[in-house]
Amino acid sequence: MTATSSHEAPPDSDARAARRFAVLGLGRIGLGYAMSIAMQSGLSLAGFAEPRAPLRRFAQGAGFRVPAAATLPRLLEMVEADAIVVAAPAEERVAAVEAALASGRAVLIDGLPSPHAEGAARLAPALVRRDATVGCAFGLLFHPLFARARRLIAAGALGPLRELRASVNVSRVFAPDAPPQRGDAIDFCLAELLVLLDAMFGPALAVGATANHLFGERIDEVHARLGLAGGAEVIVDASWSVPGYPHASIVIEVRADRGALLVSDDALEANLEAPFESLPAGQSRRVLAEEPDPVAFETGAPARALEAFVPALRGAPVPDALSAARALRVVALVDAVRRSVATGGAVRELAR
């Protein structure tokens, strides 16, 4: 049986049949993907897999008239699906990704495929198989200002990089409504910044990190130095315990031989020797609202990740922004950060 959402079918029914998505994990993010799938032309929602009955009931009470099951294998006995979105919580992520990969369908994973290196090692062979259609989605890689900064650096517009700094700050330990129940600053805000840094500057080859525990046993602040190929170094600071940041503030500063760049989640300031795209030579500044950011139906990061992933279902390569290989590298990097913190900042080498 194939159930569909209540929205109008696209004219080409074969196209619709080729793009049926199941969503594994019905938390906030999973529902965001369900919304995007339901509203994107040519896609249909096949069903939901989620072990917690209240979450299944919530999705169906929200109006999604599709089958739901406690496990993915059970769901796939009930419905046809061509692709699976994995949006399971961290502690269930490895098993969820394994189940999705074992189904032989295309798989889009929201976030890192595993919260730890052991899980990533288990998943790696299937994740990077040449014939697998697998993507890992991170909202920061679809942020228009960071996307422009990535293009600028990839094109060599700044020349050789000299000084690199990055920070992420967000207030969550103080959140009056809901102090964190799980995870720490590494999980909550550093990991995704590391994905962005990998995408901008390439893989880290070594890391040394120290951490502060301000409000308990969990890590609240991290200071790290990432060694890159060619000898460049990125100094990274992450905190989820700085007051005044209800929304994450991410800032990346680059000083290079042929210019400088300061890019954040709300503006990009460049000093370039030569024009690049719509940025003129010399000093320039663009705010977020000036960057094109088209989307068919706004649900945030899920809408953009899904739009980037869908062409891969038709044989196009999975875009670099969804690279599973990068996600695996960052799992290893996060693991190295934790090991370095545990040993007082000792530098950890990473496999090339």
Binding site: R28, F58, G63, R172, D177, P294
Partner: protein
Amino acid sequence: MSRVAREAPRLLLGATSLELPARTTRDRALEVAGRFREPESLAVTMIKALDAGAEGVYAVPSSRMRAALRELRRPVPVLVRLPLTPAADDLHYEHALLAGPPGGENGGATLNAGLSRLGSLSGDLAARIIARCDGEAPALGARAWAGVAFAAPLTDLALAAGHARAFERLVRHGRSRYGLAGFETHNLVTLLARLREWGIAPDFVIAAFNPRGVGMPPDYDAVLEAVRAAAVPVIATELRAGGIVSLAEGAAFAREHGAHGIVPELVDLEDVASELAALTSAAGR
């Protein structure tokens, strides 16, 4: 408690940017949040806004707004955005409506929170939203309602799921409690199309509408056409397009292209009294 509005407002002072993400620079958001840290500052500003022609304030049920309203003898009509969708919702795996009502400084009284939990046992989305709203709104302490706008994350969830009955139910409930009921959305074109298809007519919808197409999916032209043809009054927000046009330009654009009302946010305003008075005057009121 009075319900003062009979038709959708033409001009409101927007105070949601004190609590919710606003399309402005972080420095500007912090500056404005700092300016209104004291409830007296916000209270005085609201009165100046009413004197300058605003029909009320568009606000969330935050402790800051509650404290400001308490300072005033004069009732300030509030178009309340419900339910509260705090940034820290991202700490939870579950959807905010399942994670329990907000507590702490932004939460409602214990009784209201209890009612909200009871309502949330129902599986239907509208019942959950209503339970949450009824738990949160009384804690604001407003003495006059200009209406209710159901928050975009919930509107857009029901919209994507095609849940027409939820929209019907929310409109009925909103009108009975707050006088006017409308929907905030990030997807105005789709919302207007579905409302027309379903034959549902809320008192207003509220969404980004500006001359640069910022926050206007799927694109500028589609939103322009949808607003021009809208059967439901559209109240325009994000008038300054993230700060890249002036408030006067954004407001003029919205009015000229079919918006029924406008909501300049605190982050868009330097001098609330004079700028709102100018907008009132420009509208010929």
